[in-house]
Symmetry: D2
Subunit: 136 residues, 4 copies
């Protein structure tokens, strides 16, 4: 296991909310990261789809981790925007985020969120956001 | 208790994810709604602040409920954007959302998310999004 | 005329693109600013409505000027999001922007864009964005 | 010249604001489109960079045309979000937009805006937005 993978897993595991939801880092590269989240009944909304807030959590977190790959660990998520494109029904959510641009103080990242069901994968949401280094 | 308040509470209580997090409707008007969420350890990130994903959940849900006040119950959240402005530290989160514009198929809504600590309230995030009626 | 109004007018007048479009500062307060733009044929799209790019220009500029009221003149617009809510038909566009939150390095601002026609005013777009101080 | 290219060029040429700015369609595929805009002094802001409103216009228009490739010509741009990542200095702006998802009533599109200078090309802005069919 790479050192970077070990570090980002430790960060994720130190987030009580990520532990509550059950997220885990599935892959990390120099400018990209994947976070998975098994779907379970507690994560749904009233129609049986995964709650939008879960998809948002996943996009938010993957964007932030991607920004961290470019900017280091002292970062904050300034903002992001997410489009939901399909109801999420399936067994596993996968968020794949990457760095589009990184300067000295800000990184702009994108994230696609997919749901896997019976061996097929579909896009359910797509996000774009800004990660910033912390002000001194 | 007003009939509308009763209905929106039933909807929120039928969302397993909202029950997992502990959200509750605190007030509803003709074009505005407030959702509260008591802060607890499970909702934090690694630095002891409320996880951004929790603030996003709350904004997403309040925007959607506000859109529902204008468009009815057969709606989907198309997209939203959120700016985080301060780390959230305190006992209670309050999301206040309202309808900025409503047409026949779409409503544009805004939501401010506050944290209450020791009797004072501070803005922690602000969001803007689009709620749409479901395609037939 | 207040000193601040004089300064922001000089800044706007030193933007060739704002001069090309015909924008002018109509009012400025400590945390809010209004920019007007008379509608003319060159600013339209193929259906006779004001082109969305004109509304975006106006929102972008008003957000930036609002951010400047909070952060000073050495700023950049990091990002913004805009919802178009109605076709813009009329004689005058008015963008009203204000500061929602200002820290040491970033300000979050909002802007509503209206169109005036025959003495009535209607919302045509609403925006939210982040203005940042320049990195050293 | 393909028939689609001919049609989208006619649409662009029927937008007075696009003619004022000097935009032109440079390429079109089944789900992607490129729009170019030669930089000239009238399009700048006070520091000699291309005005953000010009980049926004270009992103807005390219997103809309991309959405039109998926949804047909009776569309409106509901909303978009744009991140500016670098000052735009150069001779030519190029916006490349594509369809990320298309349903029956909405398409989610992305657009990257580049500036070309002395034979090199740099990303200056990136956008994501929602194009909708017109309500009946």
């Amino acid at each position: 296991m790479s050192e970077v993978l070990q570090i980002v897993r430790q960060v994720l595991d130190s987030q009580p909310f990520s532990v509550l939801l059950g997220a885990r880092i599935s892959a990390v590269e120099s400018k990209a990261i994947s976070i998975e989240l098994p779907v379970r009944a507690e994560l749904l909304q009233q129609h049986g789809f995964v709650h939008g807030g879960v998809l948002s959590y996943l996009a938010d977190n993957a964007l932030t981790f991607a920004g961290g790959l470019a900017l280091g660990s002292k970062i904050v998520t300034s903002e992001y925007k997410i489009n939901y494109v399909r109801p999420a029904v399936g067994e596993l959510l996968v968020a794949r985020a990457g760095v589009v641009y990184a300067g000295s103080r800000q990184a702009v990242c994108r994230c696609d969120v997919f749901v896997q069901q019976n061996g097929t994968e579909k896009l359910v949401a797509t996000a774009q956001g800004t990660i910033s280094t912390q002000a001194d």
